[in-house]
C-alpha cells in the first residue's frame, strides 16, 4: 500500500488510493480476521500520518491490546497512542486491559502498558491506576522504573494532589546508578517541584547533595561508550540535573551555596568546541543566572555568553541572545557591554537571530544610549528586507516614543522612519506624531518643509503621505514663507502652486486609499484659503472628485466646492488651523481604549441583549472633526446642492447605519461623525427632524472622541456652549443652527434620582435625563459609593435588561472605589425602551470587585424606575 501511495503523483490520486485501502481495512475489520489485524493497523497508522480520518480503527486497537501475543500487543499500544487521544470515550475501555498488563509477569508487556499510560492517560485513569504505578517503583528492572517515573509525571500533571505519594519514591530514584532511571527521576523531581511547594521544600532538603554528587560523577566519569556523545558522558543527564538544580536553587541561598563549586567546575571544564558541550554550558549558564550564585560565578557565566555571542555558529549565537534576554534582569550592566555585538546580530541574515536580537536591543535601550541605537537601527531600516521591516519599524517607533526628550529629535526620527518604511507604520503611531507636531509650534515650519522635501522624493509610503498632506494643509503658508527656519536646515523656495501640486498628486495617485484622498481634499480646501490666487485651480481639482464612486469623497468634493464658490466670506474662519490637539487628552484616550475593550468583553457576556460601543477608533483622522464644522456651517445652503433627493437619501442611509444594533468597531467613529453632519446639514427640513434626532442620539455616543475638538471649534462657529457629556449639546447645536426649522425643543422632563441598589457597604444611585424629541431613550448616570472601610479594586458593574430594552454601557470613570464614601465612580449608560409607554423598565445588576484581593460579588434588581421611562 505504501508503495502505491508513494507512486501517486497528485493529491487526488493519493486520496483515491487511501479511500480504497480504508474500504479494504473496514471490510477486514468486519470479517474479524485476527491474522491481518496488526497489519491493517499498521496501514491505518500510515494513513493517519498522512492526515486522513481513521476513527474506525480504534476498536481494532483495543482488540489487539486484549490479545495475548507480544507483537500484537505492541502494535495495539502503538495504535492506541497514535490514533486515540485522551478525550475519547473509547479510552475508558482500555483502563481494564491496562490494569491487567501492568500486573503482567512479562516485564516487556508491563513496559508497554506503562508507556502507553504515560502517553495518553486522562485524569480518571490517573486516579484509577496511580497505585499500580507506585507499586512499579519497587521493581528491580530499571526499564520499568524509569517508565514508571515518567508515567507519574503525567499523573501528577493530570491530578496534582497525587504528588504527595510520589515524593519519597522520586527522591530514592536519584540514588540509582542506571542513567535512564536517573534522567527519569530527575525529571520527575522537577515536575514535583512545579506541582507543589511542599515537594520543593522536601526535595531541597533531601536531594541537593545527591544531585551535586550525580553531576560530579557524570562530569568526571571516565569514557563510557554507552552514553558517550562527542567525548562527553550523557549530556542529556547533565542538562536535566542542571535544570533541577535551577529549580531547587531559585531563591534559596543555602542550596545555591552547595551548588556553586560544581557549577564552577562544569562551567570551566566542559569543552566548548562541540555542540553537546555547548548545550551543557548553555544550561549551566542559565542555572547560574537562576540561582543565588556568587558574583564570581556570575562573571564566569557572562563571559561564557560573550564567547557564545562571538561564535561563528548561528545556533550558538541564537542561544546566547536568548539567554541574554534573561540575564538582563539579573545584570543589565554586563549585558550592555555586548551591545555592539547584539546590534550586529540585528543585521544578521537569519530571521530567527534578527528577531531575538531586536527584542534584546529593545530591552537594552536606555536614556544614555537611545540616540546611537536609534540612528543605527534607522540606517539599517534602509537595507533590511521586506518581511523584517514591519517588526523593525514597530520597535523603532516604540523606542523613539518611549525615550523622546526633545520634540525635534522625535519628529526627525519619525520622519526618517516614515520615509523608509511608512507603509509599516501603524495608524496610532502617526496619529501620535501628528499630535506631537501640532503641539510644537516652533517646529511647524521646519516639519512641514521636511515633509515637503520627503514627499518629493518618495510618495510610496502611505503614512508619510498622510502626515505630509495634513501638515501642508495646516501649515501651508509656513512652507511658502520659510517661517521659523532652524539653523540646521537648508532654505528652500516653494511656490504656492508647488504646494498645491504635491497635494494634488497624492490625491490622484492610484495607490492612495480613501483616507489619504479624503485628507488631501481637506488639505486642498485649507490651501484654497491660505493661497487665494490658487483658489480657482483648487476648486477645479476638488470638483474632479465629484464623480468619485466613493461616497465619502464625492460628498466632500461637492460640499467643499460649495464652500469655495458661495461662501468666500466665512471660508477663512472655517478653515482656520486646527486647535492644538492636547497631548494628555490623546494619551488618556489611548489608555482608556485598552481597558475599555476588556470591560466590553466582560459586559457582553452579562448583557447579551445590550450592545455596547466604545470609542475604539480614537481620532480616526485628526481632520474629521473639522469636517463637522464645515458641514455645520454649510447649513445656510438650502440643500447640499446637485443630485438632490437621492443624495439626501444616501446620507440618511449612512445615518441609519450606525444604529445600536450594528456592533461597530473602529469604523463607527468616523461614519458616526459623518452621519452626524449630514443630519445637521439636513436640519432644515423640519419634517424629518424628529426621525433624525433619534439617529443623532445613537451616533453621538460613538462620537465621544470627536466631541472635544468639536467643542473647541464651537468658539469659531457658534456661541453655543458645548459640554462633553454626550448627546445633548449636539442637539443644541442642531437647534441653534437650523434657524428656520422648528427647533426640537420639547425640553427634557425631569425625573427624580433613585437609589437603585443598596447593601450595607455599597450604594448605587441612578439619575436620569431624556433626549429631547426621543422619549424612548434615557441616559442614566450611575454613581457608585462605597460605604465600607476597605477600598474596592477591579470594580465592575454589569447590568442586564429585558429583551425589549436596549442597553449601552460606557466605561466607568475608574475601577477603584475609595472607602468610606470618600469618592465615587460614575458610569454612563443609555437605555432605549422599544416599548416605551407600554412596559416599564427593569434591570438586573451584578457588581463584582475585589477587597484585599478577594473577589466579591453582589447582585440586585432595580424595579423602582420612575414611571414614564
Amino acid at each position: 500500500m505504501i508503495r502505491a501511495i508513494r507512486a501517486c503523483k497528485t493529491a487526488a490520486e493519493e486520496r483515491g488510493v487511501v479511500r480504497k485501502e480504508c474500504a479494504a481495512i473496514r471490510a477486514a475489520i468486519s470479517e474479524n480476521d485476527p491474522d491481518y489485524r496488526h497489519r491493517n493497523l499498521a496501514k491505518l497508522m500510515f494513513i493517519h500520518m498522512l492526515g486522513y480520518p481513521t476513527h474506525f480503527g480504534q476498536m481494532e486497537c483495543l482488540k489487539l491490546i486484549a490479545s495475548a501475543g507480544f507483537p500484537e500487543k505492541r502494535i495495539g499500544y502503538l495504535g492506541l497512542m497514535l490514533l486515540l487521544d485522551e478525550r475519547q470515550e473509547v479510552l475508558m475501555l482500555v483502563t481494564n486491559s491496562l490494569k491487567q498488563d501492568l500486573n503482567h509477569s512479562n516485564q516487556y508487556i508491563v513496559g508497554l502498558a506503562i508507556c502507553a499510560l504515560g502517553n495518553i492517560c486522562s485524569a480518571e485513569m490517573a486516579r484509577d491506576l496511580a497505585p499500580e504505578v507506585e507499586r512499579l517503583f519497587q521493581t528491580r528492572d530499571p526499564n520499568i522504573k524509569k517508565k514508571a517515573a515518567l508515567c507519574s509525571i503525567r499523573i501528577i500533571r493530570k491530578v496534582p494532589d497525587l504528588s504527595e505519594n510520589f515524593m519519597s519514591p522520586a527522591a530514592s530514584l536519584l540514588k540509582e546508578k542506571h542513567h535512564g532511571v536517573l534522567i527519569a527521576g530527575v525529571q520527575l523531581c522537577t515536575e514535583l517541584c512545579k506541582a507543589s511547594a511542599e515537594a520543593l521544600d522536601y526535595l531541597r532538603k533531601n536531594c541537593t547533595e545527591v544531585l551535586v554528587r550525580i553531576l560530579k560523577d557524570v562530569s568526571n566519569s571516565p569514557y563510557a561508550p554507552e552514553y558517550d556523545i562527542a567525548g562527553i558522558t550523557d549530556p542529556f543527564l547533565h542538562i536535566r540535573v542542571l535544570r533541577l538544580m535551577r529549580t531547587l536553587g531559585q531563591g534559596d541561598a543555602d542550596s545555591s551555596d552547595f551548588m556553586n563549586d560544581i557549577l564552577a567546575q562544569v562551567a570551566t571544564k566542559t569543552e566548548s568546541n562541540k555542540n553537546a558541550g555547548n548545550a551543557i554550558l548553555y544550561e549551566c549558564v542559565e542555572t547560574i543566572m537562576g540561582i543565588e550564585a556568587t558574583s564570581g560565578l556570575r562573571v564566569l557565566a557572562i563571559n561564557i555568553l560573550g564567547r557564545f555571542l562571538s561564535n561563528r555558529d548561528n545556533n550558538i549565537r541564537y542561544v546566547a541572545l536568548n539567554i541574554l534576554m534573561k540575564a538582563i534582569a539579573v545584570d543589565a550592566q554586563a549585558v550592555q557591554r555586548h551591545r555592539a555585538t547584539i546590534l550586529e546580530c540585528v543585521k544578521d541574515s537569519d530571521a530567527s537571530i534578527r528577531k531575538r536580537a531586536l527584542e534584546l536591543v529593545f530591552l537594552l535601550v536606555n536614556d544614555t544610549n537611545v540616540k546611537p541605537i536609534t540612528k543605527d537601527l534607522i540606517e539599517y531600516l534602509e537595507v533590511s528586507d521586506q518581511e523584517f521591516k514591519g517588526d523593525l519599524t514597530v520597535k523603532i517607533c516604540l523606542i523613539v516614543e518611549k525615550f523622546s526628550h526633545e520634540k525635534l529629535w522625535y519628529i526627525d526620527q519619525m520622519l526618517k522612519v516614515l520615509i523608509e518604511a511608512g507603509n509599516f507604520v501603524k495608524d496610532e503611531i502617526w496619529h501620535a506624531l501628528v499630535v506631537v507636531i501640532s503641539n510644537a509650534p516652533d517646529l511647524h515650519g521646519y516639519t512641514v518643509r521636511s515633509l515637503y522635501k520627503a514627499l518629493q522624493n518618495s510618495c510610496e509610503q502611505e503614512s508619510l503621505v498622510r502626515v505630509a498632506v495634513w501638515c501642508i494643509g495646516e501649515y501651508g503658508e509656513l512652507l511658502i514663507n520659510n517661517v521659523g527656519v532652524l539653523d540646521v536646515e537648508e532654505p528652500i523656495t516653494v511656490t504656492e502652486s508647488d504646494a498645491v501640486d504635491v497635494v494634488e498628486i497624492s490625491l490622484k495617485r492610484h495607490s492612495s486609499d480613501i483616507t489619504t484622498r479624503a485628507m488631501s481634499l481637506i488639505a486642498l480646501l485649507k490651501l484654497s484659503s491660505r493661497f487665494p490666487p490658487c483658489s480657482e485651480r483648487i476648486r477645479e481639482i476638488i470638483i474632479q472628485q465629484k464623480g468619485s464612486l466613493v461616497l465619502e469623497l464625492q460628498q466632500r468634493s461637492l460640499e467643499f466646492n460649495a464652500i469655495i464658490q458661495k461662501h468666500q466670506n466665512i471660508k477663512s474662519s472655517l478653515v482656520e488651523r486646527m486647535p492644538v490637539l492636547e497631548e494628555s487628552a490623546y494619551h488618556n484616550k489611548k489608555a482608556a481604549s485598552a481597558p475599555g475593550n476588556l470591560s466590553e468583553g466582560k459586559t457582553r457576556q452579562a448583557t447579551a441583549a445590550a450592545s455596547l460601543k466604545l470609542p475604539n477608533g480614537v481620532a480616526k483622522t485628526p481632520a474629521a472633526p473639522l469636517v463637522d464644522l464645515l458641514d455645520l456651517n454649510s447649513d445656510d445652503i438650502p440643500q447640499p446642492s446637485s443630485s438632490g433627493g437621492d443624495f439626501l437619501h444616501d446620507l440618511l442611509g449612512i445615518g441609519l447605519a450606525p444604529s445600536p444594533s450594528s456592533a461597530g468597531g473602529g469604523a463607527m467613529s468616523s461614519s458616526g461623525v459623518d452621519a452626524l453632519l449630514d443630519l445637521l446639514s439636513i436640519g432644515e427640513t423640519p419634517v424629518q427632524n424628529d426621525l433624525l434626532a433619534s439617529n443623532i442620539v445613537s451616533t453621538s455616543q460613538d462620537k465621544l472622541p470627536s466631541i472635544s475638538p468639536l467643542e473647541r471649534l464651537s468658539s469659531v462657529s457658534s456661541p453655543v456652549s458645548l459640554q462633553s457629556t454626550g448627546a445633548a449639546p449636539v442637539v443644541d447645536l442642531l437647534g441653534s443652527l437650523s434657524t428656520n426649522s422648528s427647533a426640537p425643543a420639547d425640553g427634557s422632563s425631569v425625573y427624580p434620582s433613585i437609589v437603585a441598589y443598596q447593601s450595607d457597604s455599597l450604594k448605587i444611585m441612578f439619575s436620569f435625563s431624556k433626549q429631547p424629541g426621543n422619549p424612548q431613550t434615557t441616559v442614566i448616570q450611575a454613581t457608585y459609593t462605597n460605604m465600607s472601610s476597605n477600598v474596592y479594586t477591579d470594580f465592575l458593574f454589569q447590568a442586564a435588561v429585558p429583551k425589549f430594552v436596549q442597553l449601552k454601557l460606557d466605561p466607568g470613570s475608574s475601577n477603584i472605589l475609595p472607602s468610606s464614601g470618600n469618592g465615587s465612580i460614575t458610569q454612563r449608560m443609555v437605555i432605549t425602551n422599544t416599548q416605551h409607554g407600554q412596559r416599564a423598565l427593569a434591570m438586573r445588576l451584578r457588581i463584582s470587585y475585589k477587597v484585599d484581593n478577594q473577589d466579591k460579588m453582589e447582585q440586585g434588581q432595580v424595579n423602582n424606575f420612575p414611571a414614564g421611562l
Binding site: 500520518m49 486522513y52 505492541r74 504515560g118 552514553y227 549530556p235 530567527s352
Partner: protein, 143 residues
C-alpha cells in the same frame, strides 16, 4: 512538558513520521505541519536551526533529504534537542544500517517503537542506543 511533537518530513514536504505529545485535531495537525515545513524549507544551511512558531520553538536538522523537526517549549534547551535529534538518527542508523527515507516509510512501526523508547510523554527517557534497541531486537527475533 519539553517536547511537543516529533516530525519527519522529506524535502517535498510529505510527512514521514509524526508523533504528537499533546492533543491536536487532524485539521490542526495538517495546518501546523504545512506551516512549519514551509518555514523550514525556506531556510538554508547558514541559518540557525531554530525557528519560532506560534508559542513554541521548532528545532530542526536536515539529514540528506529528510528533515527532523522537534517542537519544544520555549524554555527548553535547544542545543540539547539538536543533540537528541542526532541521537535519534544514530539509533535508527544502528538498527537499519545507514537509515534512509524508505526504511522509515516501510518500517514505520519500528521507527515509532524507537521513538517511544526514547521519548515518553514529551520527556527524554533513554539515551543509550543499546537500551533503546534491545526490545526491538527481541521482537525481531521472536517473529
Amino acid at each position: 512538558m519539553g517536547i511537543r511533537f516529533v516530525l519527519l518530513v522529506n524535502k517535498q514536504g510529505q510527512t514521514r513520521l509524526a508523533q504528537y505529545y499533546e492533543y491536536l485535531t487532524l485539521h490542526e495537525r495538517r495546518a501546523l505541519e504545512g506551516e512549519i515545513v514551509r518555514k523550514c524549507l525556506a531556510r538554508n544551511e547558514h541559518h540557525c536551526s531554530f525557528i519560532e512558531h506560534r508559542n513554541y520553538k521548532v528545532v530542526y536538522r536536515r539529514y540528506a533529504s529528510l528533515f527532523f523537526l522537534v517542537g519544544v517549549d520555549n524554555d527548553e534547551n535547544e542545543l540539547a534537542i539538536l543533540e537528541f535529534i542526532h541521537l535519534l538518527v544514530e539509533t535508527m542508523d544502528r538498527h537499519f544500517g545507514n537509515v534512509c527515507e524508505l526504511d522509515i516509510m516501510f518500517h514505520l512501526e519500528k521507527a515509532h517503537f524507537m521513538l517511544e523508547e526514547m521519548v515518553m510523554n514529551g520527556c527524554i527517557v533513554e539515551t543509550s542506543k543499546s537500551n533503546i534497541l534491545a526490545p526491538i531486537q527481541l521482537m525481531d527475533k521472536a517473529s
